[in-house]
Amino acid sequence: MGQVEIAFEAPAVDWWVLTPQIILVGAALGLLLVASLAPRALPDWVSTIVSIATGAAAAIVAAVQWAAWDLAPRPTLNGAFVSDGFSLLLTVLVGAGVVMTALVAHSALDRYDMAPPEFAALLLASAAGAVVMAGANDLIVLFLGLESLSIALYVLIALAGRRASARESAMKYFVLGAFSSAFFLYGIALVYGSTGSTNLSGIGGFLFGSIRETDYLLLAGIALLLVGLGFKVAAVPFHFWAPDVYEGAPSPVTGYLASIAKAAGFAALARVLYVAVAEQSTAWAPILIGLAFATLAVGAVMAICQNDVKRMLAYSSISHAGFVLVGLSAVAGSGEAARWIVRVAGEESLILTTGATGAVSSAVFYLIAYSFMALGSFAVLSVLGSEQQSADASAGGADASPPHALSRYGGLARRRPVLALAFTVLLLAQAGVPLTAGFVAKFEVIRAAIDASGYVLAAVAMVTAVVSAFAYLRVVLAMYAPEDSADGDDSAPAARAGRPRWGGLPLTSVFAISLAVAVTVVVGVLPQTLLEWSRDAVLSIIL
């Protein structure tokens, strides 16, 4: 047999498909360029405005594409990247995440001693990586997106490197990230070795219909891909980095990590599992379920032991990842592959089964809902962090308690009633109280699980939700019913400022928090639109 000659054809480029990424990357480069060429330091707001505008632009472009393209999947560049409903919806989310993070960070950069242009550039670059991950249809593209996102994040955290905690968390994140990247890469290698391709839909098509249950290479490859992505989404037992990194990272970055980075990881996970190796769902679904169990349990149980709010939120983020895993694992009925072949207009095409659609869409819904809750929560933390710091500074001595110690939240409801209320809404939403997005998200996930007969998983998920509710309630209690009697003013220095205050809050952060709360509540009350979106998004996944 002769050589396999692959004829060269210049791949067609659909520039429109790439527009969101180009906007993000272009703005990042442009900003850097201007910042370095400018004779004087740019005012802080320029970077913020650029970030916001870019994030918004990317989101808007994606939204317009969503509407204009009628959700028809558009692969481009030889199928390496695809713009379908799934990627567009996540692109909108990423854009929104950028906007929120930029808003929150605006007032915090100073405190963390971070340079605005660099911060903005890295934020936008990482967002580009996330967008790539959402639409990657090739394992290598996926990997590169993941690396872009990760490396940008390492540096974003290290930007606050004057703090020992930031250095430590950046280092931990980096070493473990590199370590797990190696696993991921090895997974790619094994999948490649078993199928001869790195293209997701290529692999999917190749595997379709073939019974490869005993294809150990493939199965090991899937397992290693799960390791890499499991690390990214902080699934137990690959979660260890998360609490430390979340705690050490600047709060705005933490919010971004918990929402956008996680969403990107899950998007990649969903794509890999449902596009490439859907045929093996009977093999990986149990693994996913196992990971979900562990993630839910560890996240919830560890969250209630925390005395640091930021760290508690980190663990809670882990338990939320568990919920998303519940959703993703809910492929209908055991023994049933995740996709079907159907005849549309005489042509055969692959589609996801209803169960699989429900599973992915519930995960997408959960991700979107949770992202806003997380962004909002960490925005609150960011605001409070600066307050605590200025309080400490004015108190003259360093307060021994860490800036987010639970005790420091005592009596917040009195000092900052509105902020406390917003935080309460966000926390309760995470606990899954109805009329918030968190509830609908849990509901969707549970529905998906039950659709797939995952009763035990659904029940366990809800039970862990109750356990983690305890963690949220501790914070709410601290704010509304401080440990000391209501009139005792001897605890935290900030508590001394007894009178409720409006002023002093950075407007940008207030806006971001309001946005998060608004989304949380509106989606909680009227979830139909978002539900439809997440379903449409999944229905149009290219297979």
Partner: protein, 104 residues
């Protein structure tokens, strides 16, 4: 086909061993620089596997992928070394184990 023949499996085994040695090294060493080198070992193991597979399939894509891995490795190393520098500047004798203030 008689006697010893170097099959794909050999290369794969070697790659996997490199991967495992690298991983084990990362687990046992405290020096951040050596940890980074261990990651490199792992990546090289992967690279070997890719090339072996490519050889087996007669598919040049595997080679291309290795190029990307190299790029990623370079990028990681660069940033990683930057971080190491940042950390070691602050506390010159620090090992990975000293970065354990955040826990619990």
């Amino acid at each position: 086909m008689s006697g010893l023949e170097v099959t794909t499996g050999w290369y794969l085994t070697l790659g996997a061993m490199l991967f495992l040695i690298g991983g084990t090294g990362l687990l046992v060493r405290r020096n951040p620089l050596i940890m980074l080198m261990c990651v490199e070992l792992m990546l090289n193991g992967v690279n070997l596997s890719f090339i072996a597979f490519a050889d087996r399939f007669g598919d040049v894509h595997g080679h291309t992928v290795v190029l990307f891995v190299l790029v990623v490795a370079a990028a990681e190393v660069v940033v990683g070394l930057g971080l190491v520098v940042a950390v070691l500047r602050a506390s010159p004798r620090a090992t990975a184990d000293d970065l354990s203030a955040l826990k619990g």
